[in-house]
């Protein structure tokens, strides 16, 4: 008879640990995450440095090219400490890297770190624009697709999203260039204008590369948000919000969106790091002077020191951003915020 009676478990407030204990637990969790990130960074730096060992033949020759004179080769060998053991060399390199010194390019003669920092704003701008575009499209489309689940609208948007995930970035970029730039002439073909020079021109040049990066990302976001939103719309508190007479828009965007967006926010955070290194294709395609283009240039110029520097920089940025996302997770969900982590 009492079949509807739910168990009363969970109705009692869980015994809360004293404030101090909670604080200690949080610090411990923080330290653990930090340690993990540092460990990963260490392994990554070792891996990137080891790449040098994989260079065929004498690294100095590989770096300088066959025409190098014995004197310059000797100089580079001394500079790279190639006569020392691997661990000594790695230690020295890591020590320099920790002091933000990633060496000097043998091609341009410029310090690697300086060159990277010079290019960083461009790549960073593209990443931010792409993220904003992706979220601006994905949030309404994902929410509405969940609200209108299984209707034509949902099938169309969610199906298109699936297709967009499968378009390689360089194909998408070329399609956009063909129609929007060559066909309609809306955008400049290639090139870059610094924001400081002319903000409007800068945005005009950045739009298409950012859009190319944003479309596949938006597709992933849309699908993720739709799934989570579908689950949220089944929740009692949504029915309750309805019974309060709130408008559908208010319920969807004020009540249901936030609890549905935890995975989306995590993914967007991870993507922030990924897009910093993943804009290689777009930067090459649109001739944008960012870090990705720098990487490709150093490959073709056989500027190994520069390549090594960009790779370690991008990987570090990726790990640091991921760790930050992980740590800030509690800020979005009050349930996590008030509990010990």
């Amino acid at each position: 008879m009492k079949s509807t009676t739910k168990t009363v478990e969970g109705t009692r407030p869980a015994a809360r640990p004293p404030h101090r204990a909670r604080w200690i637990a949080r610090v411990r969790a923080f330290a653990l995450k930090l340690a993990t990130a540092l460990g990963t960074l260490f392994v990554v730096s070792l891996a990137v440095y080891s790449l040098q060992e994989l260079l065929p033949g004498d690294p100095a020759v590989a770096i300088l090219g066959e025409q190098a004179t014995p004197e310059t080769i000797a100089a580079v060998r001394a500079d790279l400490r190639l006569d020392d053991s691997f661990l000594v060399r790695y230690g020295a390199w890591l020590g320099d890297a920790l002091l933000l010194d990633l060496g000097t390019s043998y091609r341009s003669g410029a310090p690697v770190m300086e060159t990277i920092l010079d290019r960083l704003p461009v790549t960073f701008e593209l990443m931010v624009l792409a993220q904003l575009m992706a979220l601006a499209v994905a949030i309404p489309l994902g929410t509405l697709a969940a609200y209108r689940a299984k209707t034509v609208f949902d099938r169309f948007t969610t199906g298109s999203a699936f297709a967009m995930i499968s378009v390689p970035e360089f194909v998408l970029g070329l399609v956009l260039i063909y129609y929007l730039t060559l066909g309609l002439g809306w955008f400049p073909t290639t090139g870059w204008v610094a924001f400081g020079e002319s903000p409007l021109e800068n945005l005009h040049h950045a739009f298409l590369p950012a859009l190319t990066m944003a479309i596949p990302v938006a597709a992933v976001y849309q699908r993720l948000l739709r799934t989570d939103m579908l689950a949220t719309l089944q929740e009692d508190f949504v029915t309750m919000a309805q019974s309060k007479g709130l408008s559908t828009g208010h319920i969807l965007f004020r009540h249901a969106l936030r609890p549905s967006s935890f995975s989306l926010i995590t993914l967007a955070g991870v993507n922030t790091g990924r897009l910093l290194g993943g804009s290689v294709i777009v930067e090459v395609l649109f001739v944008v002077p960012g870090i990705g283009q720098l990487m490709i240039q150093s490959i073709f110029l056989r500027d190994f020191v520069m390549l090594q520097g960009t790779v370690i920089f991008v990987a570090t940025a990726y790990i640091v951003v991921n760790a930050l996302v992980d740590l800030s997770y509690g800020l979005i969900d009050p349930r996590v915020r008030h509990r010990s982590a």
């Binding site: 008879m1 509807t4 609890p259």
Partner: protein, 370 residues
């Protein structure tokens, strides 16, 4: 409070205006197994200021009925083939969703079963209260905030100012249900639907919440529909009780009458499954044999017959109508009512046969009629 709720029979005259009239209402769902008749022709008349209890086991249609009254049942598979719901003289089931929404939270409010899940986990208690106030009453933010604190205080929440800034997970279950009640009451609704408001709560808290509802209901002269599976809950707190089974009302009467002159075997069985204080320790609680009724397909005969110890041939073929043969405010749908001569004869016939006309063994029902 006067006990004047009764089926909307045309001949009943009453000096108090009914606030809500449900007339032959049906809510069906299309399922793979056929049409599911969740609510199958229910008529109700709820007078202003009264409290009606809607009782039945899970699946009896009581929750769907209460949500249908609001218009909250939104499913692609829902069909509403007939009936009307009239609120304060307006046939609200014919309104557009947008027009209907204007009643929600303002004229009619609802308290849900599980306070652990019915509050938004990421919004503060205060926000969830003030949004109703600003929406329906056009209050300014500051005014709404002050009113929200007052409301929290009025439902017995200590330190309401502090609580308003907290999130639901920081409150206990009982406190949360008080919050949902505060939200429901915030715009002084005339009709409150409480859907199993205490089922998910600790036993010790249940009585407090019911008392709170009672108190608020009389203080505000509010009309209340209390949905529950537990007859014990409605016993002292409602004017009228309607017992539902398989999407239909099987018995409806003033609360006292229902308990003293129970006529429907299902209502009788429900009453026997309430644990009582004066029964000896370790008395086995009565349980109704069989599974709850199957709601798909055309009903043939009485839906309760397979589980009923009074069941006769007639019960299997003819559906009993809801009639009031004894007193105008007491209706029931049974061919062989409990406590009447035909009922007693039917029970004796089944006892001597060892099984009911539906083929259910009487040994499963020994407690009944013993």
């Amino acid at each position: 409070m006067t006990a004047t709720t009764q089926p909307a029979a045309p001949d009943t005259t009453n000096d108090r205006e009914p606030l809500l009239v449900v007339d032959d209402w049906k809510t069906y769902f299309k399922t793979a197994g056929g049409l599911l008749r969740a609510v199958d022709g229910v008529s109700l008349r709820v007078d202003a200021g009264s409290t009606i209890g809607l009782v039945g086991e899970s699946g009896s249609g009581k929750t769907i009925l209460s949500r249908s009254i609001l218009g909250l049942v939104r499913s692609r598979r829902k069909v509403e083939p007939g009936g009307t719901i009239t609120y304060d003289g307006v046939v609200i089931n014919k309104l557009s969703p947008k027009e209907r929404r204007r009643y929600w939270g303002k004229d009619m409010a609802m308290v849900f079963q599980n306070p652990m899940t019915s509050l938004n986990p990421v919004l503060t208690i205060g926000r969830q209260l003030t949004e109703v106030l600003t929406l329906h009453l056009g209050m300014s933010k500051a005014l709404a905030r002050a009113r929200a604190v007052e409301l929290l205080e009025s439902v017995g929440i200590p330190e309401p100012k502090k609580r308003a800034d907290e999130f639901p997970h920081q409150l206990s279950g009982g406190m949360r249900q008080r919050v949902t009640i505060a939200i429901a009451l915030s715009c002084n609704p005339r009709l409150l639907l409480a859907d199993e408001p205490t089922t998910a709560l600790d036993v010790t808290v249940q009585a407090q919440i019911l008392d709170l509802l009672d108190e608020q209901q009389s203080a505000r002269d509010m009309t209340m529909i209390l949905v529950t599976h537990d007859l014990g809950v409605v016993a002292g707190r409602t004017d009228t009780v309607a017992v539902m089974y398989a999407g239909k009302i099987v018995e409806i009467a003033p609360t006292k009458t229902l308990f003293t002159e129970t006529r429907h075997p299902y209502a009788e069985a429900l009453m026997r499954s309430i644990p009582t204080m004066d029964a000896p320790n370790h008395t086995r609680l009565f349980t109704i044999p069989g599974r709850p009724a199957q709601l798909t397909g055309e009903p043939k005969g009485c839906r309760f017959a397979p589980r009923c110890s009074y069941a006769q041939e007639k019960c299997l073929t003819e559906q009993p109508p809801l009639v009031a043969p004894e007193r105008p405010d007491h209706s029931f749908a049974c061919w062989f009512p409990v406590g009447t001569k035909p009922g007693q004869e039917a029970l004796e016939r089944n006892l001597s046969a060892g099984q009911t006309a539906a083929g259910t063994s009487m040994s499963l029902m020994t407690v009944l009629g013993a």
